[in-house]
């Protein structure tokens, strides 16, 4: 029976090849949407690692020093002055009754700029991580859940090593199941370090946070490493941001008061406040808008394919009246004729899917940008989901024409001849 069906399909190979190509292209379209959608869905279930309730962020603009300043003493003096101003700003913020906590940081949640870094471990593995240098108040300010150890505190002042906080994913990557607390990240020295710069101190883990997914719920989870910001230490630079948590009930009316207070502290710096809610809204949009555009386009394409396929199958059923009539006259049941049409559809879909899956299976082996992470589970899931969707689509397209085919009265069909 199957061989017979395959022969029937082969006899109409030109028309069927075109249909198969159409199903193949539809598979690719569905696959792209499924991959992006599934990635978002899986990511959204992972812990975010912070809470932005009542948190505001102040972008701090400093007058820049001259590029490539050769006078080392002048640079040091300018930086020392800037650090002093920044300390003053933090102190001023903490005095305001509306401010519960304040912390300096280089980046922050939903902030557009990303600071990435990496290291080669002593066992030769290369790891990349999201980097940030944060004040002691940063972790409690964002109510970040701590899985093991502790956040940065004053005790770290005396530490000989650099205290760091890493996220659970990085702890797993570097230390496996062993507890990372108190251990040093086994890191090879940076071969590209300029000779005039002092060697990096070992990074000793003092705490493990659940996570810190800077770009929100849809972003890809990854490794995170926080360094402790010490505003009084020359090498640490001056942060670009101030984060504050305001007391409950503080309204936007506090913004100008806040800005004027900061301007009074330092007139030639500039400050820009936004609430975290607003930043989150913008950040989420950069994920949802492309997916929405993609989904709308794919939706219309599929609607077009459905109409087209149904039309083509319908047309071919009406053209094959004689064939179906003959089968009915020879004793085939209506159901069997109906099944024939559907099986033909399914065989073509299978061929299209084999070709489509063979093509997308090449993607993991192709060179791709580093930001594009493929999670094996999600990739396979997207293939399965889109294959299932395409089967449903083609069978739905065959449903009405196959019913028509099964209803052909044998006598009419034969008379037609």
């Amino acid at each position: 029976m199957t061989r017979h069906l395959v022969r029937l399909i082969w006899n109409r190979k030109r028309q069927n090849l075109l249909l198969t190509i159409e199903i193949f292209c539809s598979f690719l379209v569905v696959f792209v949407v499924a991959l992006v959608g599934l990635t978002y869905a899986v990511n959204a279930r992972q812990p975010l690692g912070f809470d932005i309730d009542r948190v505001w962020v102040i972008d701090v603009g400093r007058p820049r020093g001259p590029i490539g300043e050769t006078d080392k003493a002048a640079t040091a003096a300018r930086e020392a002055a800037e650090r002093e101003v920044f300390t003053g700003l933090l102190a001023a913020l903490r005095e305001l009754p509306q401010v519960e906590r304040a912390a300096g940081s280089f980046t922050g949640p939903y902030v557009n700029s990303t600071w990435g870094s990496g290291a080669t471990l002593t066992d030769g593995r290369q790891i990349d991580y999201l980097y940030n240098r944060v004040g002691d108040d940063f972790i409690p300010l964002l109510s970040m859940p701590i899985v093991a150890g502790r956040g940065f505190t004053r005790e770290d002042d005396a530490a000989g090593d650099d205290p760091v906080v890493i996220n659970a994913a990085m702890a797993r990557t570097v230390f496996g199941d062993a507890s990372p607390i108190g251990k040093v990240i086994p890191q090879k020295p940076d071969p590209q370090r300029p000779p005039d710069r002092p060697a990096e101190k070992p990074k000793r883990v003092v705490g493990v946070i659940e996570d810190f997914r800077q770009h929100g719920v849809y972003s890809m989870p990854g490794n995170v490493l926080f360094d402790r910001l010490r505003i009084d230490v020359p090498d640490h630079g001056v942060p670009d941001r101030l984060l504050i948590r305001v007391t409950p009930g503080t309204s936007a009316a506090f913004e100008p008061i806040l800005i004027r207070r900061l301007q009074r502290e330092s007139a030639d710096w500039s400050f820009d406040v936004s609430t975290m809610d607003k930043l989150r809204e913008q950040s989420v949009k950069t994920y949802t808008i492309p997916l929405a555009v993609l989904a709308v386009l794919a939706g219309f394409l599929l609607l077009m394919v459905m109409l087209g396929l149904s039309g083509v199958v319908w047309q071919s059923v009406t053209q094959r009246l004689r064939e179906f009539g003959l089968r009915r006259a020879a004793g085939a049941s209506g159901l069997s004729v109906r099944r024939q049409v559907q099986v033909e559809m399914a065989v073509m879909t299978t061929f299209a899917l084999i070709a489509g899956i063979a093509l997308v299976a090449q993607i993991p082996f192709l060179p791709r940008p580093r930001e594009l992470v493929l999670v094996p589970g999600i990739f396979v899931g997207a293939v399965a989901l889109s294959a299932a969707a395409i089967y449903c689509l083609t069978l739905a397209c065959g449903w009405y024409p196959s019913r028509l085919a099964s209803r052909i009265p044998p006598a009419d069909a034969l008379r037609y001849e």
Partner: protein, 415 residues
């Protein structure tokens, strides 16, 4: 002859309205998507105020420094342009202005965030803004660091409730400016001259910017004629190549004068950013390929629907062949029919795209965008429809024309 084809087309389309509707749906949707993108590109790239003279403009919108280990990319710095871009051969006017800076204004407890651009006086000669009130500030205002500003219509609405703003003052980021002119809003798609507030360069809070070769500034040169563009590009690249970089960690600086398309292409993932060569053609090629990939599915769909209807025409084809019509003329007829179908779909697509564009304008997704189906976009739409018609018409036409006359007269081959 063409009139005959037209009559035939309409007859065929009317014969099976359901299939015609399926075909038209696919065609109009495909062309709708292509036309929306075309209209957006047209609005962003075609010469229009304040960039009416854009075919004579070249700008430096990014600068990258390279060393063996490190690279640094940002906008160019004021010193780079002030020292090296002045007196370039073929340049009529050179303007240097800042990139986006945000400025906050508080009216009572209401907070207004605006984009502030600090420019020189030549900015107003290179870009042709439409002034609603007053006029631009001049080179003298810049030289004396006068706190004057030109604002846009929207800024006037937000700061002064839309009333006459001339001579009034407002505060932005702790500095107080006096309004000397009001200009029409500039679409966000015109991101080089777009801003909410324009103020003289010298009103910056410190003059540290005057020493920087990297960061925060743009330069746009207005050439005497389009023939001078290559000369400007080459001369500036040569000067940059000769300059001594202030930081020994870097070996080369890449900051070419480019058209806007080239500078957009420079930010695309497949650009070679380490080279001052033009990157535009690569992006164009990529977009053409992307468009072709997008139309593949609609094309296959349309071909399928058309091919499945061949037998409707069997007797017509049989008769014409029996009376000696050559295959060539049959192919021509069917291709013309297909093009007419796509043109009809294109007309629907054009109407729909006008609606989509209006919705996009109202959504505020792109600030002050005014996407329209103008004559140019209409022309592109017609071309796209014809191309799509040819693309999807050739194969079915070839199949139809090859039907054997005897079989065709009998009602088609028993496929």
């Amino acid at each position: 002859m063409l009139r005959h084809y037209l009559t035939m087309t309409i007859a065929v389309l009317k014969r099976r309205p359901f299939y015609t509707a399926i075909s038209l749906f696919g065609i109009s949707f495909t062309l709708l998507v292509l036309m929306v993108f075309t209209a957006m590109a047209d609005h962003g790239l075609a010469p229009m105020a304040p960039e009416s003279r854009q075919d004579r403009m070249l700008g430096v919108h990014s600068a990258r420094m390279y060393g063996p280990q490190s690279s640094w990319s940002s906008e160019g710095g004021y010193a780079l342009f002030d020292k090296y871009a002045r007196n370039l051969p073929g340049v009529e006017t050179l303007t240097i202005f800042s990139g986006f800076q945000t400025a906050t204004t508080y009216l009572g407890d209401q907070r207004i965030t605006s984009n502030l651009k600090r420019t020189d006086g030549a900015f107003w000669q290179v870009f042709d803004f439409t002034f609603l009130e007053g006029g631009p500030y001049g080179e003298a205002d810049v030289k004396d660091a006068r706190f004057v500003a030109v604002i846009t219509r929207r800024t006037r609405e937000r700061l002064f409730g839309g009333a006459n703003a001339m001579g009034k003052s407002f505060e932005a980021d702790g500095q107080s400016f006096r309004v000397v002119g009001v200009v029409e809003n500039v679409s966000e798609m015109r991101y080089i001259p777009a801003s909410d507030i324009y103020a003289p360069l010298t009103t910056a809070k410190t003059d540290a910017y005057k020493r920087d070769i990297m960061g925060g500034y743009h330069a746009v040169a207005l050439a005497r004629s389009t023939d001078d563009l290559p000369l400007i590009r080459e001369e500036f690249n040569a000067r940059v190549a000769r300059m001594e970089l202030p930081d020994k960690a870097y070996k080369a600086l890449v900051a070419p004068f480019e058209t806007r398309w080239d500078s957009i292409a420079r930010e695309s993932p497949f650009a070679d950013r380490t080279s001052p060569e033009r990157q535009g053609p690569k992006l164009t090629l990529f977009l053409v390929i992307a468009a072709l990939v997008f139309v593949t599915l609609p094309t296959v769909n349309l071909v399928n629907v058309t091919v499945s209807r061949i037998l409707e025409r069997a007797s017509e084809i049989g008769v014409r062949k029996a009376f000696g019509a050559p295959t060539r003329s049959l192919v021509a007829q069917f291709v013309v029919e297909n093009v007419m179908l796509t043109l009809a779909g294109g007309a629907i697509g054009l109407v729909l795209s006008a609606l989509v564009l209006r919705a996009l304008n109202q959504s505020g997704l792109f600030a002050f965008s005014a996407f329209t189906v103008n004559a140019r976009v209409f022309g592109y739409g017609v071309l796209l429809a014809i191309a799509f018609g040819l693309f999807s018409g050739v194969y079915p036409a070839w199949r139809m024309a090859r039907l054997h006359p005897v079989e065709a007269l009998k009602g088609g081959p028993s496929r």
